[in-house]
Symmetry: C2
Subunit: 313 residues, 2 copies
Amino acid sequence: MYIGIDLGGTNIAVGLVDEKGNIIHKDSVPTNASRHYTEIIKDMAMLSLKVIQDSGYTMKDVKSVGIGSPGTPDNERGVLVYANNLNFRNVPMRAEMQKYIDLPIHIENDANCAALAEAVAGAAKDAEHSVAITLGTGVGGGIIIHKKIYSGFNYAGGELGHVVIHMNGEPCTCGRKGCWEAYASATALIRQTREAMKKNPDSLMNKMVEGDLDKVSGKTAFDAAKQGDQTAQAVVDTYIKYIAVGLANVINIFQPEIVVIGGGICKEGEYLLKPLRQMVYEETYSKDIRQPEIRTALLGNDAGIIGAAMLGR
Amino acid sequence: MYIGIDLGGTNIAVGLVDEKGNIIHKDSVPTNASRHYTEIIKDMAMLSLKVIQDSGYTMKDVKSVGIGSPGTPDNERGVLVYANNLNFRNVPMRAEMQKYIDLPIHIENDANCAALAEAVAGAAKDAEHSVAITLGTGVGGGIIIHKKIYSGFNYAGGELGHVVIHMNGEPCTCGRKGCWEAYASATALIRQTREAMKKNPDSLMNKMVEGDLDKVSGKTAFDAAKQGDQTAQAVVDTYIKYIAVGLANVINIFQPEIVVIGGGICKEGEYLLKPLRQMVYEETYSKDIRQPEIRTALLGNDAGIIGAAMLGR
């Protein structure tokens, strides 16, 4: 058994996970991210102990604790070097956790944990090499090579969202211009949807949100396109093209057996994947050979817990 | 001892290489690429036997033969799936070679071989993970993870030149638009140089080639810039910026200890690397942590032979 902790800006989620990546029991508490790190980490430890107890297991059944965190963790030193939305800098996460729990503590980036979870127990279970992309507020990336997370010599690799696909293009939160994230994230889709709505006041999308641009979500354009709205269809087509350009880049670089697409947008399923596959395969480099498969993520919000737990396997 | 064969469009180069990546003896013959593959492969085998003999060693001293080839080799089947400039399609390279030489035969993409050579005996000798970029006719890439070539499940990965950095931009030989190769190759630099010369007939560059655009090379803009020509300096600055955008992408993805830059352009040394490093480090994602080093390749044209030989290590 392994404890997996998904440390988010809003909630701390903890699960007891078996060898195969099944969650036996899970629970969560609010992060209250403005607190000092010692308090947040104490809550992570206390919830871990509670989850073990509530599940009917004991500490002796647990081999290790894994923590998936936003930002750049350094697992060698056990330190969270930097996490923007938690206001953490050089937090000694392992040492703090070990005040409460005497087990090996592993820390890893949350996008990498999600990728590992899908590789162990989800959509990329059959793949030796896989890449997971999360289209959410940003574009997260996790690289799995030989079933293990690859994150470079400084644990900061795998930032697939921060690959420039359009030089001097849209500004990105990272400081670069034209990152994939600035075109293919849900945030970018919402921006693109709003721009199209402003230019086309007659679009069904404006009726759907009663003219309130604050109500636009990542679903707005997809929903209206399915009802035949041309403006929405154009937004969707362009957005899928943006995803495809970056995905073809990822494939030309990694040629993994399986690419996993996660995040809210992946609920669109084949409506998204069918045109996406076609655009990607038109662009990838080697057409005469077997192509990677593009699948949607299977584990949803549990991926963070499962991946963090699997760090100790 | 290992035999390394660098199969190029112009020459076949063969070397006997020791365990550490030192070339003991080497030789070459013209490829005459229009011939049938059986003839070309026979020449590769005959030259290998000659190199062993001329070096004073015998077949018993040689553990394996490695072949670095353009295109997409499938080492599992021993087949060169596709090589554009050799007009090879599904060539049974291993079986053909073994008609003449009864040793294990490994085949690999030439850019990957160059990367492996630099990782074993060159600029990335100290790195566990490294990436090698060759700025030549195209932009070649080789990915080394844990000292081994990574090329994906179908041996077609590592095509770092075919990462789109400018959507809908310059057409690339691969069919995509806006690939890094279309901006950062020596071919692209020559195009950029000619365009600037046409717009600025007074530039020193026009005098240097006596107004003959056919004489423009990858050195023209660098040479004129060093003599203070403003037009040439602008070409160089923009070209280095193009290299930097793609290199920051590579670093955000891989965070390797060392990035090796090869190809003719790397002869510019620090004149190229100094501004390049500055531009790259301004763009990479994680600024609070140790950054990858950017170095020029050390092995030059020998990298192909050495890397091919090291496939058998």
